[in-house]
Symmetry: C2
Subunit: 330 residues, 2 copies
Amino acid sequence: MADQKKTKRRITSVDVAREAGLSRATVSFVLNDTPGQSIPEATRQRVLQAAARLGYTPYAPARTLRSGRSDVVLFVLPDWPQGHTVAELVDRAAQVLAGAGLTLVTHVHTGQDDDLARLWTALAPAAVFGMRPFTAHELAGMRRANIAAVLPSPEQSGHDVGSTLWLNGVGRLQAQYLIGKGHTRLAYVLPDDPRLSALGQGRAEGAAQVCAEAGLPVPIVSTIPLDTAAAAETVAGWRQPPTAVCAYNDEVALALLAGMRKLGTSLPVIGADDIPAARFALPPLTTVAQDSGELGARIAAALLRALNGEPSQLDVLPDAGIRVVERESA
Amino acid sequence: MADQKKTKRRITSVDVAREAGLSRATVSFVLNDTPGQSIPEATRQRVLQAAARLGYTPYAPARTLRSGRSDVVLFVLPDWPQGHTVAELVDRAAQVLAGAGLTLVTHVHTGQDDDLARLWTALAPAAVFGMRPFTAHELAGMRRANIAAVLPSPEQSGHDVGSTLWLNGVGRLQAQYLIGKGHTRLAYVLPDDPRLSALGQGRAEGAAQVCAEAGLPVPIVSTIPLDTAAAAETVAGWRQPPTAVCAYNDEVALALLAGMRKLGTSLPVIGADDIPAARFALPPLTTVAQDSGELGARIAAALLRALNGEPSQLDVLPDAGIRVVERESA
DNA sequence: CTGAAAGCGCTAACAT
DNA sequence: ATGTTAGCGCTTTCAG
């Protein structure tokens, strides 16, 4: 039989055109409702119905090849433990982008090798967003891959989104809260994890700023592994104990609390992130929570602006949606 | 000036060919090292160097359009709170897929609307993997979009990966552990979150199975919100208290512990997931940990098989890499 | 208002 | 061993 196909063929716009008894151009016009074309409603319907009947799906690669414009946006997520926070951020960002016809996908980058390049080339995204500044090498690669928008933008290198947006604000708020309670000597406790060190620095610096502004000594900064005994040691090792301590996040705070329990001592502690476990701690953990959905939306908006060619600095209310959740630990 | 380009042009394989003084075909051959072509090493190098000099990047949409084969794999992540676990899983899967020249991207699906369709059409992935079974509607959409492999495969519907792989095994192990300690009346406590109910059922059932096998009564199943007072109420409300309790995950377990503390009672508790906070609980939480990296690798392998046309049931050692981390709570 | 036709960048027969 | 060439499915002038 001559018309026997060996392999299942894709349904193309040609099929739709044939089914509707029209030309491919017309089909394309109505399917994308191209502006500046006046298609009679009857024709429109004919196309739409034909497409539906056939189960037509436009084929992205072809569309992209022709138009030179992909509608995929890539979020490169950092290696650090993903919490609720990040999920929420991504989710809201995806919503906003979807509103502009863009599709967001994520990829967590473990920093192993330079597989980031593979990502761009495999996806040919319209835009890429990363939570940390890209290296010169990476930027060069993306430029060659003709990616339309990159954030954080090359110009604002040195400031990753983390340090710009979060860490600072969180650290500041923690210190402000504690100082407001009358504390005068703070400690800032950072986690062991090297992946978190940049963020940790940022938060600690935020706290230091606030202390300086209030004429207080800068916090003692300690780094601890996520381990009760180690936390206890650290606390016991403070020569001149602080009157209260800020933790990089709730996990560190929990470690601290456990360490102090072991020691039989007690110091006010404030965490960050408001993970579910925080409220079940002994004592329940006071912490800084943030509306990361809002942040996601903001990022998406910046990306959209950048795609429109407007120079978009993703500038930042560092304190957007950050608040302290007061419980009993501080 | 005639040769003044208005817009930055993409570097194509034609440019490489010109630069190397060869034809596009030759370039294509060496760049993909097409089998069954004998290219002299000298020529190879000439191409490679020309490409490097120009900073040539192949353009995925064109390649995909022509070859009919995308090398993107899409992971659709469920709505439920993403932990360390999922990150690890995805990460390992990505590694394995990368080994086969495939690039993994993820998208968390909030289940809002049917934006999943958008995803496929925007990405044209070679394969899609989801943590829950796809609906008939979704499957139809993917078929039309000519996606080569889908897992869980339509045939094994009714079993999502969660229930098949994890829940069961985790619940079973929890119960086994407790029974091994001499307990005879168990409770299973599930979280409030509706997104988690399917998984919860699975784990609870696993425990029930084990109890039945051991000739013990099936566990009482309770559902609690993540709240200390509510947890206390639930515990206080048990007519005939269990001798020990399994929690759906560590967060629920922590809530339980907090509730009991409030009540002044105490019951052995075993959690699941081994989140960082578990070890800082009072008492430190005994829990079931899993090597989700291994699972990720397994999933990736199954996907690869499916892409090769081998019927791949993603069959499953339900207990792969699951173990209990014994601490003091049980 | 609709149709014909020219490519987008790439791969893979088919020639040479 | 290298070159020529025909599309992949789609958008978009340009004619009619």
